[in-house]
């Protein structure tokens, strides 16, 4: 089938990334192309970033990645008489969303099916208008690269902590920086801050990855660190708890308690066995449940069912497409 994937680039090698989704769907035998959102008036439209004037034939289905792509996608879907599947991220849902745009989208746009990333998100989406019978859970996925065997036994002489601030909200930045300064001075570790998703520092050797901040979505930084087999410490929020199980895949700390962050970092860097256990558990967990190929398989299945239902094929047992939860 021809799939138009509408969204903004920015989450490379993950199931939230339009380029990754396009490549994945093409690998599964579909004709997929990425379309950018163009903030035109009176309505936003889509544009092929490769410069081609329009879609190469109407799509069989439109896939919108994120609430910001919903309106333009619905225009495309309406013009091409195609079903529209909207993928919502946690940042599109309460309590992280600061406006009611997502609710307007869900209640007033012709959305055929909604994809969310967890059962909790499904409940949240229902509170702002998503129809439960048309809401599917597909856990997010990241690329899980093969382990670098040559680096397996390396450990830095002095503990090194990677602080991933790429998803830390502006409101949390000041507190996060204070915590990191205390960690560096009181625990005696090297702390390196990254704020960009593609920062090459991520490929270096780290003892621990710290992802502070409670007012944002840490899912992808967490999954990436876990996929690299690194122990992680992040804020104890409902969202984090969906990604990792405390003490099996990583550690959680109260966002408002700097002492807890400092002491947990101190404890982890002093225990290589604990680091190894958490890193192994994290990677195994992401390999089994957070691999991007698994997410793309689930998305492929979802799109097939939606297209089939749109064309009149009965859904088996009239139950919604199967959930693929982590």
């Amino acid at each position: 089938m021809r799939v138009a994937v509408v969204g903004v680039l920015g989450h490379p090698e993950s199931s939230r990334d339009p380029a990754t989704v396009v490549a994945g769907l093409c690998a599964r035998g579909h004709e997929a192309r990425h379309l950018d959102v163009v903030p035109d008036l009176p309505l936003p439209t889509v544009r092929d970033p490769d410069g081609q004037p329009g879609a190469n034939g109407p799509p069989d289905i439109v896939l919108a990645l994120g609430a910001e792509a919903a309106l333009a996608s619905s225009v495309l879907a309406r013009r091409s008489v195609s079903p529209l599947v909207l993928c919502l991220r946690p940042a599109d849902l309460p309590p992280l969303v600061e406006h009611d745009a997502t609710e307007l989208v869900l209640r007033h746009l012709p959305i055929t099916a909604v994809v969310v990333e967890s059962a909790r998100c499904r409940v949240l989406a229902a509170t702002i208008g998503a129809e439960p019978s048309r809401t599917i859970v597909i856990a997010p996925g990241v690329l899980v690269a093969r382990p670098d065997r040559g680096k397996a036994s390396e450990s830095p002489a002095r503990p090194r902590v990677l602080a991933d601030l790429s998803t830390t909200s502006p409101a949390d930045e000041a507190v996060a920086r204070g915590v990191l300064e205390r960690i560096a001075t009181e625990v005696g570790v090297d702390v390196h801050r990254v704020t960009e998703v593609g920062d090459p520092a991520r490929k270096e050797t780290w003892t621990l990855v710290v992802i502070p901040g409670a007012g944002s979505d840490p899912t992808l930084p967490l999954l990436r660190a876990m996929a690299d087999g690194l122990p992680v410490l992040t804020s104890d929020t409902a969202l984090s708890a969906e990604v990792l199980a405390s003490m099996r895949h990583g550690l959680l700390a109260a966002a408002e308690d700097p002492d807890e962050w400092v002491e947990k970092v101190r404890y982890v860097v002093a225990d290589p066995a604990l680091q190894a256990h958490l890193g192994r558990g994290a990677r195994a967990h992401v390999t089994a449940n957070g691999d991007v190929e698994r997410a793309l398989d689930a998305l492929d299945d979802c799109l097939g069912r939606v297209t089939g239902a749109w064309n009149g094929d009965p859904l088996s047992g009239s139950t919604p497409p199967a959930d693929r939860a982590m």
């Binding site: 099996r248 002492d259 807890e260 195994a284 089994a288």
Partner: protein
Amino acid sequence: MTTRAPAGGGPTLDPSVIDHPGVLVVGAGATGLITALELHRRGVPSLVLERESACAMQSGQCHGWLHRGAVFPEAADSEVAELAAGADWWQEAAERRWLIEGEVLGTDPDGADRVTRLWTQLSVAHSVADLAEPPLNWSVRGGEPSVVPSEVLRAAATAAGVVVRAADVRELLPGPDRRYVGGVRVTAGPRALDVRAPVVVLAAGSGISRLVPSAAVLSERLSFMLVVRSEEAPARAFTVPEQQALGLMVVPRDRAGRRHLLVSNFVSYAATAEVRHARRAWLHGVGATVRELLPRVWTDPDALWGTYGAVKVERERQRQLGLGVPGAAVLDTPFKNVLAGVPGKLVLAPVLAAHISDRCVELLASGRGGEVPSSEWLDALLPQATWGPEAWQLTPLMSRGTVFSAGEAA
């Protein structure tokens, strides 16, 4: 078309199917591992499949106390007999290597009589003594030791050759008709495969509902364990079952030559509770009890503290007694060859396992035979499961002020 591996294993033409002639056991906690041991005793081959590490979940989160009734004075005689049978199994399996002597302590003068009444009936050796550790004024020793479950089970399973492999069981496979299943579908890393067997035992605790949603309702409770590392920690295990102490239970553990304590009580919360808020409330209560009954530990300036949460699974109607006798512990499933159960208490896992194993023997009586897959064949498809560690060994330890920051007793 699929082909099976040659008998005895070896390179396969179809790496997506494993045929097992005996029992698949889903879950390598106490229930699953003891079921495999009981099956071994009965000459039945089994294959245990575990998603995480063996004895890492509930079995690795508990204090290993072998209840014989001291903390359940309202238990009926039949229930106490079940407790005794389970405790005897654990004590025999522990071979004294992993037994930690336990005491029951109290302040109420009549308390010692209530505790010892059942032990006297059961002829459990015990001794009563006065204590001069205010507010505690009596002690009963000998009736209820504690064990380290993962150590006991690892040794027993290794000695018996129990096969435990790492795999995430995703669903039950359809069988010859809708009353039976054909096995399970698993993922092991990136690989998916079918494991077929005539009988499946679900011993996966809260994971049972995912595989058999129509099984009897399971009740989940959120409880906490306090971990303390202190040179002032006592070497003995003890419990203060009185209400004023909130049913305090203290068990020592040693690691790298340093003494740790696992401290729990009877206070638990709905599994849907906000964990941070529940933990804060729990710490407020347990902190006051620890300060009163373990004052030297509480005031040790070098002590380090931590907590972890654990979700305990019981069958819904067990809540009244907090016990898990087999009649209540076995869950109904819609399939004749799928058995499931949750023991409710660690000490009752052997009783449940024996019951389930007897049922497995009945189910296999008229079943097919066949070769047990060789280790080499399994090695090619399913990695060996790892063991533990126990939850307390992973718990970050911090200063008392940080742990009790919002709930510290004044």
